[in-house]
Symmetry: C2
Subunit: 282 residues, 2 copies
């Protein structure tokens, strides 16, 4: 029989671990002295402890180990199921770490390249769908776009109250940025979409605004810009480079979501979230 210190040296684990496993009921000493509380371990117990350590190395939780280690026959199926689960987790972790590694390396390269990148805040996330009260136009300037929006806002209260309007959103369909002919949907996301599914507005210039359902996007690169909407495109190139370096390609019409403004009195303080649908490059 060994006291805890020597047994811990045999097994190359800490005393704390042995006490902890004892506390969990996962691995208890063969004998405990009732008076002193001293734990005494038998050499043959090392086999069980090693089994526990092996299962832990495979990635099972102590709780899972407790479930499989005592059942002598049933454990094969149960263990197999756990291992299958662990395998997919491990595969996912490998993929994640590799992707992370790529991003880390591209950031290091950027810093070494010395270039101000100005795209520190490009976050990639999924984006839910939403109801979109919008009108599609080919506009030649921001002033024209603003006029359209103004008309839309004025026409809206006929059928819906202002609090139903969410954010001002532009979805840009022009594949390339051509300042004098931008094909875009302009409008507002809607807060209570189900109640407003069939709203349709006539605009003073003869156009129409209707509600359409915008599909969710699985991965959307987003980036926040503060300043004149006209300048918001300035960082687009840097963002595209960043996305390319991190292993993504653009795969759809980009959007601009106005978190603040555009307020006619302080247009330079508008806050716009640029959104670029992406997918991992194969």
């Amino acid at each position: 029989m060994f006291r805890i210190g020597e047994f811990s040296r045999l097994a190359r684990v800490s005393c704390r671990l042995l006490r902890y496993y004892d506390q969990l009921g996962l691995f208890s000493p063969g004998t405990v002295d009732d008076e002193t509380g001293y734990r005494y371990y038998h050499a043959s117990q090392l086999a069980r402890l090693n089994r526990i350590l092996v299962l832990k190395e495979l990635g099972l939780s102590l709780e899972q180990i407790g479930e499989v280690i005592d059942e002598r026959d049933l454990s094969a199926d149960k263990l197999r199921a756990m291992l299958l689960e662990r395998r997919s987790e491990a595969e996912q972790r490998v993929a994640e770490e590799i992707a992370r590694l790529r991003r880390i390396e591209s950031r290091i390269d950027e810093i070494d390249g010395g270039g101000e990148i100005g795209a520190d805040d490009v976050v990639i996330r999924s984006e839910p769908g939403f109801a979109f009260l919008c009108t599609r136009r080919t506009v030649s300037s921001f002033d024209e776009a603003r006029a359209v929006v103004g008309a839309l806002v004025k026409a809206a209260p006929q059928k819906l109250s202002p609090r139903d309007l969410g954010r001002f959103v532009v979805i840009v369909h022009s594949p390339e940025f051509e300042p004098d002919a931008i094909d875009a949907e302009l409008g507002y996301s809607l807060v209570r979409p189900d109640a407003l599914a069939d709203v349709e507005l006539a605009l003073p210039d003869g156009g129409r605004a209707r509600v359409r359902q915008v599909e969710p996007v699985e991965s959307m690169a987003t980036c926040v810009r503060v300043g004149l909407p006209e300048d918001a495109h300035a960082g687009a190139l840097a963002i595209a480079r960043r996305l390319a370096a991190d292993g993504y390609t653009l795969c759809g019409p980009n959007r601009e979501v106005f978190l603040r403004g555009p307020d006619p009195r302080a247009p330079e303080q508008a806050v716009v979230e640029m959104q670029y649908p992406v997918r991992p490059r194969t």
Copy 2:
């Protein structure tokens, strides 16, 4: 200005996270109402939050993020250093997860193959060096080995006390297992090696036992067996298969460390740790 709920929806993070970051001083609302404690965030703050989320995605800790995000110029070098560190961590994690994945898959295959493997407790770890009072022989049986050991134990007390002796250890140099001609070192590990470096014993059969320093082994596959020492080899084949499946090859003389016994009165309860030096197969 947004209240915390709407801001959390904008940023796709939880309210709890925003409050937590506020508490850490990492990301605080633009305004806090003194009376109610309500947090109010400005749209433009989303840029900073996104920067934090990006750095977190790269694997930096919140503390590290706090260090780099506020310094405007110095941050490049500091960030670079952190990223280099993170890169090597990530590389290591990838390697570990891949190795783990391989072990998981080999276990699944074993279970599916249905074979009782009997090598549930093969642990791979590093093994420190130790001082070894031993004599090298070619023995033809376990009885002969026992005789040698007995002689050694009797000769020992001349120069050292029994408490200096550690465990009985056999290092087997025969590359293949040939029962009638085993080239082995037999002896005891020593507990206070520095005081005993030059001990040399004459054995009654004319042989000598001396102290040598056994080198540490970086990775040692170990497995505990309970039973007659003669039977301890039974699992060796299973262990070798397991090691091969997990991506290791044997790379040195194996050892047997007697954790209990061999006690002449109860030899079948001996506890032996089989040790096989291994190295990752390239």
